[in-house]
């Protein structure tokens, strides 16, 4: 018996992430800033991450935030989004004493997890640059620095 089950799968694609999700009645697209924010927030969730960015991006970020055109959650994060893939670059400052490889791996895992869950995009790579270490006494600005323990 020939299998003649009429395949009525109108939307077979799309379940496994495309940045541009085509449906019968229009497309869904996700802006790069969205992926950037998700990545930034995900990285900040990891214990041992003091903050994102480096000295330059922090200085720039302070200016853009004061002008209300920037956002703390996109600082130090760059993202490239293609049709179905996202690639992330980020610079981070890590608390002194933490294992950098472990923290980096935890960042990578969490960023991939959050991006894939939230945006449906496949996260192809997360490149991490550790730009500095933080230890108490470094405080160059009165910010609510450490993530609340």
């Amino acid at each position: 018996m020939a299998e003649t089950t009429k395949a009525s799968t109108p939307k077979s694609e799309g379940s496994s992430g495309t940045g541009r999700l085509e449906t019968e009645r229009g497309t869904t697209s996700i802006a790069e800033v969205v992926v950037t924010k998700v990545a930034g927030i995900a990285a900040r969730e990891v214990t041992g991450v003091h903050r994102l960015g480096n000295a330059v991006s922090r200085a720039l970020g302070a200016v853009t935030q004061r002008l209300q055109v920037g956002d703390a959650s996109t600082q130090g994060v760059n993202v490239e989004v293609t049709e179905s893939d996202a690639r992330v670059w980020m610079s981070v400052i890590i608390d002194y004493g933490e294992s950098i490889p472990e923290v980096a791996q935890a960042i990578r895992d969490n960023v991939v997890r959050r991006i894939e869950a939230t945006t449906g995009l496949h996260c192809a790579a997360v490149d991490i640059a550790v730009t500095d270490l933080y230890f108490p006494g470094d405080d160059d600005e009165p910010t609510p620095a450490a993530p609340s323990a």
């Binding site: 009645r25 229009g26 996700i30 924010k37 927030i41 449906g120």
Partner: protein
């Protein structure tokens, strides 16, 4: 659908306002975004509907586009809910949303 008499709002504006309110009512949508330069609006007759564009489609209905600001939830599924809600609302108002193009323009990290 007939063209309304002079003085009545265009169905395009009626649809845009309806789409705007419907999208905002979907859980997970925080706001609509007017895009670069604030030009992503439907305007006419002295009104402005932010974040929605309705353009007459060749088939007779309208092609609807939206720019959303959402909470951090699974976005493709949220977009699908918005699309379904918009199509249903338009149909029940006697208007036709031929296609619904959704752009997630931004997200906010706030609790539900």
């Amino acid at each position: 659908m007939e063209r309304p008499a002079h003085g009545e709002p265009s169905p395009r504006l009626v649809l845009a306002a309806l789409v705007h309110d419907t999208a905002l009512a979907v859980d997970g949508v925080v706001a609509l975004d007017t895009g670069p330069g604030g030009l992503f609006v439907t305007a006419g007759g002295g009104e402005r509907v932010p974040g929605v564009r309705c353009l007459a489609a060749p088939e007779g209905g309208y092609d609807v586009s939206l720019r959303l600001v959402c909470r951090l939830v699974p976005l493709p599924a949220l977009a699908e809910r918005v699309r379904a809600a918009v199509v249903t609302a338009a149909t029940s108002a006697g208007l036709n949303a031929e296609t619904v193009t959704i752009t997630v323009a931004d997200v906010v990290d706030e609790p539900a």
